[in-house]
């Protein structure tokens, strides 16, 4: 067996997998495989029909949970000064609350963003500023 | 007091470790400890070769090596072992 044949084989394997990886990159089979990340402003200015992702903060006091079905909720996503009305109807992550940093994925239609994915980024609570808790009742938590 | 407490505690391990580190500098020039090391690595090599021979036999018995290769490789390994044994004896 000549060494040449092995070199050819290695090149072959690399070429086939290279082709495969780039093919999947251009034609992902699942619409959730890739999503473009846009800002709220970009979304407002362009008409985007694709599934997209957005990031921002949950506006304080904007979370409204449906009376009839607690799974459904809507809130306002803030990114800088832009705001976006978001509807979400699935199980919410534990860290989802006022001021939380979230990433939503879904589709935009007529002023409403219908999210099918809602992720919270690491809780500011644990990386945030220290608390002034001179008023905090220590004995209460120690028991 | 504060400073003494903060730095005093760390000073003790620091001083001890410095003594430990510079101690060799006061030794007379060290003889090269190669010879005993050479013996050891030769012995390890011998053990390794013995193991390789056993593995080779196993592979042959299972049928992972053909007859011709087996005999050739076995002879090669045995030659290496005897060379090492000779070296070990000469010392």
């Amino acid at each position: 067996m000549k060494n040449k044949k092995f070199t050819l084989l290695i090149i072959g394997v690399v070429a086939v997998t290279g082709f495969w990886i780039s093919w999947v990159s251009y034609n992902p089979s699942d619409e959730k495989a890739m999503a473009t990340f846009v800002s709220v402003n970009e979304l407002m200015n362009n008409n985007i029909n694709k599934r997209i992702k957005l990031g921002g903060l949950v506006k304080d006091g904007s979370i409204v949970i449906s009376e009839t079905n607690q799974l459904e909720c809507n809130f306002i996503l803030k990114e800088g000064s832009s705001e976006l009305y978001v509807k979400y109807g699935r199980t919410r992550p534990d860290l989802f609350k006022d001021g939380a940093e979230v990433i939503v994925a879904g589709q935009y239609n007529n002023g409403v963003f219908y999210a099918d994915e809602l992720q919270t980024k690491c809780a500011s609570r644990y990386e945030g500023d220290l608390r002034n808790e001179s008023s905090y009742n220590l004995t209460e938590v120690q028991q | 007091m504060e400073i003494l407490r903060d730095y005093g505690l760390i000073f003790i391990p620091f001083a001890l470790s410095i003594l430990y580190v510079i101690e060799p500098l006061f030794m007379s020039k060290l003889a090269n400890s190669y010879e005993s090391e050479d013996q050891k690595s030769l012995k390890r090599k011998k053990i390794m070769l013995y193991r390789q021979i056993k593995e080779l036999e196993m592979e042959y018995d299972i049928g992972n090596i053909n007859n011709k290769d087996f005999t050739k490789m076995r002879i090669e390994l045995k030659k290496e072992v005897s060379a090492i044994i000779a070296q070990l004896k000469s010392k």
């Binding site: 067996m1 092995f6 394997v13 690399v14 997998t17 990886i21 999947v24 992902p28 699942d30 959730k32 495989a33 473009t36 990340f37 992702k53 949970i65 607690q70 799974l71 199980t91 919410r92 534990d94 609350k97 001021g99 990433i103 690491c122 609570r125 644990y126 990386e127 945030g128 220290l130 608390r131 002034n132 808790e133 001179s134 905090y136 009742n137 220590l138 938590v141 028991q143 | 903060d6 730095y7 760390i10 391990p13 470790s17 430990y20 580190v21 510079i22 020039k29 060290l30 003889a31 090391e37 050891k40 390890r44 053990i47 390794m48 196993m58 592979e59 049928g63 992972n64 053909n66 290769d69």
Partner: protein, 654 residues
């Protein structure tokens, strides 16, 4: 043991580190044995001061000294004792110190173990390890010091507390295990680097690093599996692997390390692939550092990442430094790395190993591609594109299946060349069984990858069993042993080989579990007490809702009665909705948490999440998932660990 002392210890370690490198460099020039001894002792000193600093930080965490910023940020008075200790690796600066701590353990072991061994190699081994220590010491001394005092214009009465997600035993041991793996590869790398410097191509050092590599590999594997287990038990999305950048960061060095473990066998036995092995170990070590960088820098958005920090550029420079230094050195040593022998045939064990290596590296590249795709697309096209799990699954499934197939084919091939007679003898049975299983799985109604994956699992298992059978038969005939003692002797005389086969079996189990993912079902719904809901032939009845106050949280508990389609009782599930820090007057400081309940059987898991509660109407909002075969993944993990331990078990020097 004040925090100031901790800071001083870190500075001293840094100073000792510089001295170590300096002394040993002089030693390599003048060969004065005294200097070598001094260098060794200095290196031990570096580790000693790092141990000291780590103990001081742990002590501060235990006594809750909130004057230290790190202690105030990651613990609070009510944090349970064990999590006060695990807070050591919960935050950025602490985890970097912890990295150093583990590296120092390994460095100390390496130095002590090799005091009278590998005399030529040791100076550069120590230099490489110390340079790595110095890098992390720069970070902990000057960039993110764990002993930084608290800066607040008020007295910090209580700390922020540890994230409840991290208050979990698995989460307490997952990072250390992973770190032991990451850090473990610095030792084989140091040996390889030193061998390059010394132009040493003997198989002796390869022998010694094979064990180290295997230990590091074992820890890395366990760390990855524990991470998956934790995600599955705690995160509540019903899966164990999300192709998150940080998960990928641990998977990539695992792939190259696995390739390395296979290809050093060839170098040991046949003295081939010298250059390739160097490339693999350098890549593995670089990927470990890169992985730490991805985890700790916040460059990638990920569940693991900390908020953005200044670590990025420094880490990247170190990664480039390692790559340039090692590949540059490798280039200058190309002549020594030419292997005297060549692979002779496609149908040889050697070529099987070569194939397996190529596929591992290709898989690693695919994962790297997907992980960096958002960064690349933003740089080139200006649009930020995020890549999700389906992308990775689509790319990696066929590659993974090829690897699985090779797991079965490789061990059946003979060294150098498999004659056609031998090929027929060894492959007939596994291939027949492979085709039978394809047909039967198709008849059951499975499709696509599922059929291929299950059939390959059967194929590989058959191949492994037949290897065991052949070995036992040989011993029985040759040594007249009983079946039992033939098995035991065969394994104990060829530990790495049969240990390896057992690891392969573990991988097969895991693939069965991965394939089960294709049959996942899930449903989100609300239930009033007494109502029922159906999913995949199971009936779920909400029996009652109760509440309970516990030491560090408040919990609402729902009781779900699960029956199968025949009305037979299966189990009761008790998913909980908890609120941590429930006594905190500031509502925003309170932390809700869904504690899942999972019923696990060999063929499926029933996974329940209590997402929210309507107290007035007594309605629970639940998410139920049926995840088939998940348990096989964990069983595969146990088998993998068991097999690796067999391969690692030391042999008596006969």
């Amino acid at each position: 043991m004040t925090p100031v002392a901790g800071g001083v210890a870190l500075s001293l370690a840094f100073g000792f580190g510089l001295l170590t490198v300096f002394t040993l460099l002089i030693y390599t020039k003048n060969q004065d044995q005294r200097l070598f001894l001094v260098g060794q002792r200095l290196a031990l000193g570096v580790s000693f001061f790092i141990f000291l600093a780590t103990f001081i930080l742990s002590y501060q965490l235990i006594i809750s000294n909130f004057d230290v910023d790190y202690v105030a940020r990651y613990t609070s008075i009510e944090t349970p004792f064990i999590y006060k200790i695990s807070a050591l690796w919960a935050g950025q600066s602490g985890s970097l110190l912890f990295w150093l701590f583990i590296l120092s353990i390994f460095s100390t072991i390496t130095i002590l173990q090799n005091q009278y061994k590998h005399h030529e190699l040791m100076p550069w081994v120590i230099i490489s390890l110390t340079v790595t220590q110095i890098f992390f010491l720069i970070l902990t001394n000057y960039v993110t010091n764990p002993f930084k005092p608290t800066e607040a214009d008020f007295i910090v009465a209580n700390g922020n507390g540890l994230n409840p997600l991290l208050q979990n035993i698995t989460m307490a041991i997952h990072p250390p295990t992973l770190y032991l793996g990451y850090v473990g590869f610095s030792v084989p790398f140091a040996f390889a680097f030193s061998a390059l410097v010394n132009r040493d191509t003997s198989p002796l050092w390869i022998q010694s690093i094979r064990r180290w590599t295997l230990v590091a590999w074992l820890f890395l594997s366990m760390g990855i599996i524990l991470g998956g287990w934790w995600a599955y038990q705690e995160l509540g999305w019903g899966g164990y692997w999300a192709w998150d950048p940080v998960e990928n960061a641990s998977f990539m060095p695992w792939l190259t390390a696995t390739a390395f473990l296979h290809s050093i066998i060839i170098q040991e036995k046949k003295d081939m692939l010298r250059l390739w092995n160097m490339v693999l170990i350098i890549l593995t070590f670089t990927l470990c550092i890169f992985g730490t960088f991805l985890t700790r820098s916040g460059v990638m958005s990920s569940v693991h990442s900390f908020t953005e920090s200044s670590l990025g550029p420094i880490f990247l420079s170190f990664v480039f430094f390692i790559m340039i230094a090692s590949f540059g050195l490798m280039y200058s040593r190309l002549d020594d790395l030419k292997s005297p022998k060549k692979i002779e045939s496609f149908t040889s064990r050697e070529s099987g190993f070569l194939f397996n290596n190529m596929i591992f590296v290709v898989l690693c590249f695919a994962v790297l591609w997907g992980t960096l795709f958002p960064v690349i697309s933003e740089a080139i096209r200006g649009t930020k594109i995020t890549v999700g799990a389906p992308f990775f699954n689509q790319i990696n499934t066929p590659i993974g299946l090829i690897l699985l197939g090779l797991t079965g084919i490789g061990p059946l091939l003979a060294w150098r060349r498999t004659g056609s007679k031998n090929l027929i003898r060894k492959f007939t049975l596994p291939i027949i069984i492979f085709f039978i299983s394809i047909v039967s799985f198709l008849l059951i109604g499975y499709k696509g990858y599922v059929v291929i994956s299950f059939s390959l699992c059967v194929f590989v298992t058959t191949a492994i069993i037949s290897e065991f059978y052949l070995g036992i038969r040989v011993r029985k005939n040759k040594f007249k042993e009983s079946l039992h003692s033939a098995l035991i002797n065969m394994i104990s005389k060829n530990r790495s080989r049969y240990g390896g086969y057992i690891v392969h079996l573990g991988i097969v189990f895991m693939f069965v579990g991965f394939t089960g993912h294709a049959f996942d079902r899930e449903k989100e719904f609300s239930l009033q007490v007494g109502q029922v809901e159906h999913l995949a032939g199971y009936e779920f009845e909400l029996v009652n809702l109760s509440e309970s106050e516990r030491p560090n949280h408040y919990a609402w508990i729902s009781k779900l009665r699960v029956t199968d389609h025949q009305g037979q009782f299966v189990t009761n599930l008790y998913p909980e909705k908890r609120v941590y820090f429930h006594n905190n007057p500031d509502i925003n400081r309170r932390q809700p948490h869904s504690e899942l309940d999972i019923y696990s059987e060999l063929n499926k898991d029933i996974y329940s999440i209590f997402s929210s509660i309507d107290n007035q109407k007594q309605i629970a909002f639940l998410k139920i998932m049926i995840n088939p075969l998940v348990r096989w993944v964990w069983i595969g993990g146990y088998i993998l660990v068991f097999g690796t331990l067999i391969a690692l078990w030391p042999r008596k020097e006969e």
